[in-house]
Amino acid sequence: MSMKVVGDTGIVLARELRPALRDPFSLAFSLIQPLVFLGLFGPLLSDMPGLEGVGDGTPWQWFVPGILVMLGLSSTSMSGYNLLIEAQTGSHERMLVTPLSRSAMLIGRALKEIAPLLVQALLIIALVMPFGFRFYPLGALVGMFLLATLGVGLGALSYALAIVSKDREWLFYGATQTLLFPLLILSGMLLPLDMGPAWMRAVGQVNPLTYVVEGERALFAGDFGGSAVLYGAMAAFAMAVVGLVVGTRTMRRAAA
């Protein structure tokens, strides 16, 4: 990545974050969602059969990374939504005529969705620590970095989808909803696939998210040693590359 892309990403990110920073209330609001998750899943989790075996210590150790991936997934996959609005008013076109690097426009928007996730993650961790969750700061840091990388890929794909869906909002919503839940369930994010039928496990094996989720679990357990982290990192970076290539191509093709 050139310096220009880094600098431009900062400009795009700052612009995208500013409305939220100007309105602290909206930030506080974004913390409610993880609280709801914890509050509703927690009681179920504490005596769910089958979960005792996964990971050592409390089920939270297994569950929290999954929640974080899911939060990242749902926010970045909706990042195209804002674009849909901006494309209709003309502000997207205005940004397109500036010399901003196209990749920076994709990365900056995706990171804007990831930034609140950092705060959400800290809150969740702080809340589950009294219940036996063990916090490995370095693992968590690398984990969040991987999640941001995955988010760049997903955000860029969402952006591309929004460009293609211009004037056809149903396409954006339809495609996002149709893809999101199967991907989510078939990655073992919230429920382990080990208990599922063979075909589900097979699909899970080819779902790149599975590897990211497993990588995150290893990282949040402070376990850098196994292959899970390596595979997770590879899957996340592959998603980022694919997202950026598809995203920049789509932007270019939109002018054709």
């Binding site: 431009d8 400009i11 700052a14 612009r15 500013r18 409305p19 100007r22 609005i85 901006e86 008013t89 003309g90 502000s91 076109e93 205005r94 940004m95 397109l96 005529v97 500036t98 010399p99 901003l100 002018a255 054709a256």
Partner: protein, 320 residues
């Protein structure tokens, strides 16, 4: 500054081809102030969007600010500014934030962007709105902000797509003061589109009339009006017989014209009505004919459009 050859753009809509722009050739030199005048759907925005790299031409070439729009779009973007027809400012952003962001997008430092932003807030009467969220602005206020945003980086070449649409007369005057100053102080080349006939007529030096994707006239407003429409001289006389005599007098005059007699009224279409009218009156007096009233109406660009297309621009505005 701008060199266009055979610029064409088609759209496919539901299996049909819309020929939005059909083979436009034109050149704009550095420092010129030109206006694209044409009815809705004429192809003004499509042309501008091709010149600003937002759309690829179906065929033809365009060099903008020294760069080919297809070969080096990134460099074109660096050298130009474009104020689109839509709302450039993001609805969730604050007014001043958007101005500062724009400066940053063009590589200005944070401090420099702030100085420019504050200057534009003051000169476009936006200061009281600086902290407002864009979605709370009125249409005209938003348009002023769009214009301010487009001016932050002081491009050498600026495209404006209907900049004055929705502005009240005072703000329109304000906008023009700004555009003219920009040009005087920085030598900016300005290419704008407009519906307002008066604006194209009085403010710009060169008017290009576009209709159905084709350039149908190009020149100063003066030239277009003189060549394509002409002044209308109307003289009334006491009796119908005198009017017929007056027509003969008119035919003997040298300046080329069309003559029409209706009752006691005679009408002449001439290129220079201001010269023809006194001459005509003297000739009538010499022939012993007494003119009762004399009137001279200069043509408008609407007359030009009417002469070229048989349609009035004012009417077609609302039809299409």
């Amino acid at each position: 500054m701008i060199h266009i050859r055979g610029l064409t753009r088609h759209f496919r809509v539901k299996g049909e081809t819309v020929e939005a722009v059909r083979g436009i050739d034109l050149d704009v030199e550095e420092g010129e102030l030109v206006a694209f005048l044409g009815p809705n759907g004429a192809g003004k925005s499509t042309t501008l969007r091709m010149l600003t790299t937002l759309l690829r031409p179906t065929s033809g070439t365009a060099t903008v600010a020294g760069c080919d729009v297809l070969a080096d779009p990134a460099e074109v973007r660096r050298r130009i500014g474009h104020i689109g027809q839509g709302n450039g400012a993001g609805h969730t952003q604050r007014v001043r934030d958007e101005l500062v962001s724009q400066g940053r997008c063009y590589g200005l430092s944070r401090a420099q962007s702030r100085v420019r932003a504050d200057g534009l807030l003051a000169s476009l009467d936006l200061e009281p709105l600086a902290k407002r969220t864009v979605s709370t602005l009125s249409g005209g206020q938003r348009r002023r902000l769009d214009i301010a945003i487009g001016l932050v980086h002081r491009p050498r070449l600026l495209f404006l797509d209907e900049p004055s649409a929705g502005l009240d007369p005072q703000n329109r005057a304000n906008l023009w003061e700004h555009i003219l100053r920009l040009r005087k102080e920085h030598g900016t080349t300005i290419f704008l589109t407009t519906h307002y006939l008066e604006e194209a007529d009085t403010m710009t030096e060169r008017v290009m009339v576009i209709d159905h994707g084709t350039l149908i006239a190009d020149g100063t407003a003066q030239q277009l009006k003189a060549n394509l429409a002409g002044d209308l001289v109307t003289v009334t006389l006491g009796e119908e017989a005198e009017a017929r005599q007056a027509a003969e007098v008119a035919d003997r005059m040298t300046a080329s014209h069309e003559t029409g007699v209706e009752g006691t009224t005679i009408r002449l279409r001439v290129a220079r009505g201001d010269e023809v009218l006194p001459e005509f009156l003297r000739a009538l007096e010499a022939a012993g004919i007494k003119a009762l009233t004399a009137d001279l109406r200069r043509p408008t660009l609407d007359d030009v459009f009417l002469a070229l297309t048989g349609r009035s621009l004012r009417e077609s505005d609302s039809v299409e």
